[in-house]
Symmetry: C2
Subunit: 349 residues, 2 copies
DNA sequence: CATCGAAGAAAAAACGTTTTCCCAATCCGA
DNA sequence: TCGGATTGGGAAAACGTTTTTTCTTCGATG
């Protein structure tokens, strides 16, 4: 019936302040502060003594008192509508890891597409005086269901719609798609199809464009053009079944899928239909969602969007902004990385 | 080359303090504070006037100044080693949603099993003076790679090992397993197998126990006992292939799987081998990881651990602790919920 | 008429830091 | 020995709140 954080546990547990340190070290508060922060001038042994005393007392500076005077809270907010976390979690991890080393902590504000909750979270972040905001979404052509009035703090966006005068980070879908297709070509494939999500997604259009460019650049046929559907495994499966109905001569020998789920469904259908992957058909996915990519038979070669890195860079850029450094506005497209597993067969050299 | 949060944007954007409000309303700071916080006595129109002024100025109280004096930061920390987020993300969402309404924000501290980073995060949380800590893990029989010295703040645990004198929240694996098996029985199944993860997981042992109890309670055979393996789809697939080698009379007609991935692999193997699910064999999973459960053919009936609710309750309990309310220590096992889809066939009444 | 009470509002202390002065001592060269 | 620089350290203001205490009024009571 008790809590385990007794106030009076040991001499050191009751919040020790810099005043306690100063008194114990026989110096003034100002000197103690300067000693601990490597500021001002004083004898080196004085500085060390104060530090030793602070350590032995278990002193931890109160970040809020510090924030109050320095006008920097060393916190930032991560606002996202991706509660499921497919995209946001890697971003958050990258962000958090990059910032913790600089003493900055991250408030997680996840909300469904519920404008009211979003507003509450936003207000909360303002009251908590975060130094900046990272806005993360789940598609690059949508903003959050909340309009940001002119905020008193810098903002960067990740995997979200971004105006020209804002600063955003997205994966380079176009180049990622190209590299996927080029990998198929390097594996000796000549008839390369593209099966992907709904055209309403900008990412879909970009990836389709990348496919088109790479295929045309190699002087290969565009077959029937991109096959648009939804993001599901079921669509991939259905597409696979459709492919099976084609005469072998018209069948593609390589497929670039818009995401890993589609690829998964496609491979399942092909395998069930007696078409071997990668012997008969090579498949490349998109997302590198490992739980899928590693579980397909064979494991899936796919494009990793580098979400972790996206988060990291967003964090560092936000810190620059906070520090008042000039940052060119606009959206940065970070390189994707092809993760080669075994769904494409012969490795190119 | 500029940041979009110009300091001097409009009259209201340069941080407005309570002093500004007081001056604009022609009262003292003390009066302004009382008006805004519904404290003290004053003419009702004075109160309203102050509030109107505050609103028109866009006043937002500085949470850190407030925290400094009230000794409550209205923040808590979520420490987790589950950077992948399979378990933590739903917990975080539930936690965050429950707390935001009470004005409490959540710091996300995710680290790999890297003790040093964990320590940095922990120290950061202490300096930020969080009111409490939620420790979330990815298995119920492991703590975090960090020993918590007697912390000056209350702690609750979620999906993590928990000493008797601590407060923890975990799903009721035993009962969840029982309900899964009972569902199979209600669907008319008599030979119910259990295919699950490694015995080193406590969750595995609990689920196996639930399976055993429910099967025995119904007077049914335990067959060959639980089949332990790993959590992968590949293991489920291999198990399915093994089942196919059995003579039909010895084959189970219902399988309770330790997680959804195993179930997925199992169903794939059975389907490929010509055994129909659910007509010939019913399958129940565990986790309700929707991206799997909904993608299996047929969609998977599975046990939902209620991670969201776990997070919610943990948050509310932590708040009680912070408020000094007495809370009985120990671990709470929250009910799981069977999500019925179509992998078991005939719905029980 | 003097006093009392209460209502309304202000003054000031406190929270725990950082930082800007400022002061006293020591040192150096002349 | 004197004047100025340098060195080591302290006093106090500031950050933006809440809260306790004190101070006016003003009307009512004895």
């Amino acid at each position: 019936m008790v809590s385990d954080h007794d106030e009076m546990s040991d001499s050191d547990s009751a919040r020790v302040t810099i005043k306690d340190v100063a008194r114990a070290a026989g110096v003034s508060i100002a000197t103690a502060s300067k000693a601990l922060n490597d500021r001002g001038r004083m004898m080196v042994e004085t500085r060390q003594r104060i530090r030793d005393v602070a350590a032995s007392l278990g002193f931890m500076p109160n970040a809020m008192a510090r924030a109050l005077v320095s006008q920097r809270s060393f916190t930032i907010g991560l606002l996202t509508n991706d509660t499921y976390g497919r995209f946001t979690l890697p971003v958050a991890a990258g962000l958090s890891e990059a910032l913790i080393d600089r003493g900055v902590s991250v408030f997680l504000c996840a909300f469904e597409d519920d404008a009211e909750r979003a507003a509450i979270n936003l207000r909360s972040m303002q009251e908590k005086r975060v130094d900046g905001l990272v806005i993360a979404g789940k598609r690059i052509d949508r903003g959050l269901p909340i309009d940001l009035p002119r905020l008193p703090m810098p903002v960067v966006r990740v995997y979200s719609l971004c105006r020209d005068d804002e600063i955003g980070f997205v994966p380079d879908d176009l180049e990622g798609a190209r590299s996927a297709v080029n990998h198929l070509i390097a594996c000796g494939r000549r008839r390369i199809a593209h099966i992907t999500g709904p055209t309403s997604f900008h990412a879909v259009r970009l990836r389709a464009e990348g496919w088109t460019e790479a295929v045309e650049a190699a002087g290969l046929p565009l077959l029937a053009g991109p096959q648009f559907g939804d993001w599901s495994e079921a669509f991939g499966y259905a597409s696979g079944e459709r492919l099976l109905t084609l005469p072998a001569s018209e069948r593609p020998d390589g497929v670039f899928c818009g995401n890993d789920q589609i690829a998964r469904g496609l491979i399942d259908a092909l395998t069930l239909g007696g078409v071997r992957v990668p012997d008969d058909v090579s498949v490349v996915g998109f997302d590198n969602w490992e739980v899928f990519a590693k579980a397909t038979r064979p494991p899936l070669t796919t494009v990793d969007m580098g979400l972790n890195e996206l988060g990291r860079q967003a964090g560092l850029t936000l810190l620059d902004l906070v520090a008042g450094k000039p940052v060119v506005p606009g959206v940065r497209r970070l390189a994707c990385r092809l993760v080669v597993r075994s769904s494409c067969g012969t490795r190119p050299l």
